[in-house]
Amino acid sequence: MRDRHDRQAEFTDFVASGQQRLHRQAMLLTGEPSRAQDLVQVTLEKVFVAWARIEDPGAYAHRTLLHSFLHDRRRARRERELLALPDGARDERRPDHALTVIEAMRGLPPRMRAVVVLRYWEGESVAATARTLGISEGTVKSTSARALAQLRDVLGETFDERTTTHQEAR
């Protein structure tokens, strides 16, 4: 039977090998380095609490990160009041700034961001995305389509065009 020291060592190894993947997901979801770090740390703390009883720490961490992000109400209020980008996802303070994907993602509602991360970053199927988020497959499909349309609107058709002038929001 593993003792506490063994479990802590296993957890430390897991963090060493897995935290950067979680960080990437967190950056896509939060769009901001300090909040991404907070999200990853909170996730890892929760993983540690559950460590003795989980079989797939990677999958558990992945779902915990998503749920922590979606159910963080402080984040919701903070984004509304302090960090929400204007319509069109252009930073009004920097009119010549080329929008990054991470910045464009911040213009999406949180659940839509989660769908984008699962479908297009993690490469999960519609069915798997629906199970992870607890929504219907139809909702995943419609949300994905709307998300891609919004991202194309601000990033260009192939998501590779650099915008240097304001595009009218559609």
């Binding site: 802590q8 957890f11 430390t12 963090v15 060493a16 935290q19 950067q20 960080h23 990437r24 950056m27 896509l28 380095p33 300090s34 770090q37 907070d38 999200l39 990853v40 740390q41 909170v42 890892l44 703390e45 929760k46 993983v47 540690f48 609490v49 559950a50 009883r53 989980i54 079989e55 797939d56 999958a59 558990y60 779902r63 915990t64 749920h67 922590s68 159910h71 963080d72 109400r73 402080r74 903070r78 302090l82 960090l83 990054t100 994907v101 991470i102 297009y120 970053w121 490469g123 199970r131 992870t132 988020l133 607890g134 929504i135 891609l148 991202l151 990033l155 192939t158 998501f159 590779d160």
Partner: protein, 302 residues
């Protein structure tokens, strides 16, 4: 994945590749996880003794990013990975519950001692600071209540005072928000850079202001030519002035908490409740007879 969504993924990868890696979080995560385990045992013990935790928690308390009371249902050990779609009912955060209890205990007999105030400040900041700082611990019992974060790169020292003030509100620091601070910095005769600033007006006449600053001591200062980084947060109301001073630990260390985060902290019901307790403490505290300190007691609004 279609060719265009491959473009999207490729661009995501390019941007993420350009980001610096996280520092090793295994230590902070381990420490934070152990604290969550202790807090869960504490919360269970409270329930077992019949203390209704919910009665101590403000109505605005909701599950936060530091929620440890009830993590999402663990399905990892079964084949079904479905999770609840509905927003879960708010779960009391043990850290916030502990802080609420500390504040309630401090004022239970109508007065607040220095030790009770220290405990209330420590517990409340422990619960409210962003998770990456790993909570705080009390570090000083000298003139002012001081705490130090357990984690963070760098760690932070914070001290807090609740006071009244002389003169009109309009001339108090913070009354003019970020523009006023910037003007003061521009007019200073030493190097004073406002690196970050946020302000807000809210509630019953409250004004909040937070800054992160770089100062190079002038020739007439105690440390001419020395560069230092520090920050602060102010909460102002009629007859009430709350100040949190912040200093990063270590030479040449810089603040890693944003002004917007500090303003958000000041606006929480838990912090305002701490200030209310601090008003009682300020009324009850004593000062040395020869301190020269002009005592002006703060007054809680309303």
């Amino acid at each position: 994945m279609s060719p265009t969504t491959e473009d999207l993924r490729r661009r995501m990868a390019d941007e993420l590749d350009a980001l610096p890696d996280l520092p090793d979080l295994s230590g902070p995560a381990l420490a934070g996880g152990l604290r969550r385990q202790r807090r869960r045992r504490y919360a269970v013990a409270l329930a077992a003794t019949g203390i209704v935790v919910a009665a101590l928690v403000p109505a605005a308390l909701v599950a936060t990013g530091r929620d440890a009371g009830a993590p999402a249902p663990d399905r990892s050990h079964v084949a079904d990975t479905s999770t609840t779609a509905a927003t879960p009912a708010p779960v009391p955060d043990p850290a916030l519950a502990r802080a609420a209890e500390a504040r309630a205990a401090a004022e239970a007999d109508g007065s607040v001692t220095r030790a009770e105030w220290d405990d209330a400040v420590t517990a409340t900041l422990d619960a409210l600071l962003p998770p990456r700082f790993g909570g705080v611990e009390l570090t000083s019992n000298d003139a002012v209540t001081m705490v130090r974060t357990r984690a963070g790169m760098p760690r932070l020292d914070l001290w807090m005072g609740v006071n009244g003030y002389a003169g009109s509100r309009a001339i108090q620091p913070g009354s003019g928000g970020c523009p006023q601070v910037q003007q003061a910095a521009d007019e200073s005769d030493f190097t004073w850079d406002i690196l970050d600033c946020a302000d807000a007006r809210f509630g019953d006449g409250f004004q909040a202001l937070a800054t992160s600053e770089r100062v190079v001591g002038g020739q007439m200062s105690d440390s001419p030519g020395v560069e230092t980084y520090a920050g602060g947060a102010l909460l102002l109301n009629d007859a009430l002035f709350v100040e949190i001073g912040i200093k990063p630990v270590g030479e040449e260390a810089r603040l890693t908490i944003r002004a917007a985060e500090l303003v958000e902290l000041l606006r929480t019901p838990d912090f305002l409740d701490l200030v209310r307790v601090g008003v009682i403490y300020a009324r009850d505290r004593t000062y040395p007879a020869n301190s020269g300190f002009e005592r002006i007691d703060p007054v809680w609004p309303g």
